[in-house]
């Protein structure tokens, strides 16, 4: 059962936590677990162990300064509120420090759940432009942080190493292999610049 229509399309206004409209009750005796199954497949297999103790959010350095709430995202995911989960900008405030994972008494692995939700978000078109650019750089230069200026080569010479290191900065064929992989997985299409609607 798809619960999306029931939440009054709050997804596009996800920053607004309350509204003048009362939200319809979510029927948890008929849970929509299609989203949970997707998350489990992308690497968050233990998500259903969560009993909402809040240790994750209490441990979270991102949650201490933003409205990123791991505990809330996991509960939303379990309620099948996919659109709310994947469209929320806060999803991108997790630094993947794994403190929540190391402290979770239920072995939920919240960090992996967050990464799995991000995978689904990106597949449905929710990605931040700076991340898209970083991904594109790897396809262009073989590196997320490329040797893109002479001054970086000068820096290398100054410390006494060869101007161009023996990585993809030196070997064009390595970059070619990365592009072939990205083409095969569809990653190139995923991160290419999209036409403005």
């Amino acid at each position: 059962m798809d619960l999306r229509p029931k939440i009054n399309d709050t997804s596009c206004r996800c920053v607004i936590l309350t509204s003048i409209d009362e939200k319809p009750a979510i029927e948890i005796d008929v849970p929509d677990d299609s989203f949970v199954q997707m998350i489990k497949k992308t690497g968050g297999p233990n998500i259903q162990n969560c009993f909402q103790c809040g240790t994750c959010s209490g441990s979270c350095p991102a949650g201490a300064r933003t409205n990123y709430l791991v505990r809330g995202i996991i509960r939303k995911a379990l309620l099948g509120l996919k659109q709310q989960c994947i469209s929320a900008k806060e999803l991108w405030y997790c630094t993947t420090c794994y403190t929540c994972t190391d402290r979770c008494p239920q072995d939920v692995k919240p960090t992996d759940v967050i990464k799995a939700i991000r995978n689904i978000a990106v597949a449905e078109g929710y990605m931040l432009e700076p991340h898209q650019k970083t991904a594109q750089k790897v396809l262009e230069a073989g590196h997320a942080v490329p040797l893109d200026k002479d001054s970086w080569q000068d820096l290398r010479e100054k410390v006494g190493v060869e101007r161009i290191p023996p990585n993809a900065s030196r070997y064009a064929e390595a970059i070619e292999e990365i592009r072939k992989i990205a083409k095969k997985t569809g990653f190139d299409k995923l991160v290419e610049d999209k036409e403005e609607k």
């Binding site: 995978n119 700076p130 006494g160 997985t185």
Partner: protein, 308 residues
């Protein structure tokens, strides 16, 4: 006699392209300890675990696996000095060895470029190689310039020890390995409350919102100052180093607050402790110094620099 251990030296992006002093310092330190670092020709981005791991797990694992196949072909383990690269290479290696569905998908992708992940090598961090392979005893023997009286704070970072249940390396709530390694330099360890929180850069957060990332960093600095301050902060990761080092210049811009901490990668600390001069690996090329047109606080670090 045991055969001399050789590693493929996985450079990644930030070490060779922004903090080459770490690359040089690693070469000096490993050479002093009799461990060979081999060039890993044609290695690419690990790829960046924050962006790639968050975007598409299969593409992330395939690019990481491609790097692993280079080492598999040569038959030596990989060593990296970056927590981010470690998070991609070690984690992908582990996941590919345990998740057969992922492995099949990855190998199908790798077939496109004539490669195959076989799962025959291990991925090490500099910290592991120094602590486990060289050993603290041997490292102490190399120390000719102990940092006696120099106050040292630590930033162990996240991914070399977390998630602890998978990495099985150190207790991430009370880690001791990195501290013991750094203490071989003779410096005095200064604990502070937020030693174990993330620098703020990881998980693609620095890329998404640098100001939020810097708030993490600032919290760490304030926590350290509350504990009485330190003469230097040591980290095992160049991305953390970038965030703590160049981050000070950015914090000044965004928050109008000035911090002056010298940030060293653990191999830079050891290179100095082993008696190498700062100029031998270019300690003064850290981005903080380049951007501020400043230099390390030599006196606080207890280093006499003749020419300066």
């Amino acid at each position: 006699m045991a055969k001399k251990k050789s590693f493929y030296h996985f450079l990644g992006c930030i070490i060779p392209h922004r903090y080459p002093s770490v690359e040089k310092a690693a070469k000096l330190v490993f050479n002093d300890l009799g461990i060979d670092l081999l060039d890993m020709d044609g290695a690419t981005c690990c790829p960046a675990p924050g962006v790639f791991g968050s975007f598409d797990r299969v593409t992330w694992a395939t690019i990481a696996a491609r790097n692993l196949t280079i080492a598999e072909a040569g038959g030596h383990p990989i060593v990296t000095g970056c927590n981010g690269c470690f998070a991609s290479l070690w984690d992908a290696n582990y996941e590919l060895k345990h998740d057969h569905e992922l492995r099949d998908k990855v190998n199908e992708n790798l077939a496109e470029i004539g490669r195959e992940f076989k799962g025959t090598i291990e991925v090490w961090h500099y910290v592991d190689a120094l602590y486990q392979l060289a050993g603290l005893e041997k490292i102490r023997d190399q120390v000719t310039r102990p940092f006696t009286g120099v106050r040292m704070a630590l930033h162990p970072g996240c991914h070399w020890m977390r998630p602890k249940i998978i990495k099985q390396k150190d207790d991430s709530e009370r880690p001791h390995i990195f501290r013991e390694l750094c203490e071989t330099s003779g410096a005095e360890y200064v604990p502070y409350k937020d030693e174990l929180i993330c620098c703020g850069a990881g998980g693609a957060v620095r890329t998404a919102d640098v100001k939020i990332a810097l708030e993490f960093t600032k919290q760490k600095f304030d926590s350290l100052i509350a504990a009485g301050g330190a003469d230097m902060i040591i980290t095992p990761c160049p991305f953390c180093e970038l965030q703590l080092d160049a981050g000070q210049v950015e914090i000044q811009k965004y928050f109008e607050q000035e911090y002056k901490f010298d940030i060293l990668h653990v191999v830079e600390l050891l290179a100095l402790a082993f008696g190498h001069e700062p100029d031998e690996f270019g300690l003064a090329t850290h981005l903080q110094y380049m951007q501020r047109k400043s230099e390390p606080a030599w006196e606080n670090l207890g280093i006499k620099v003749g020419e300066h």
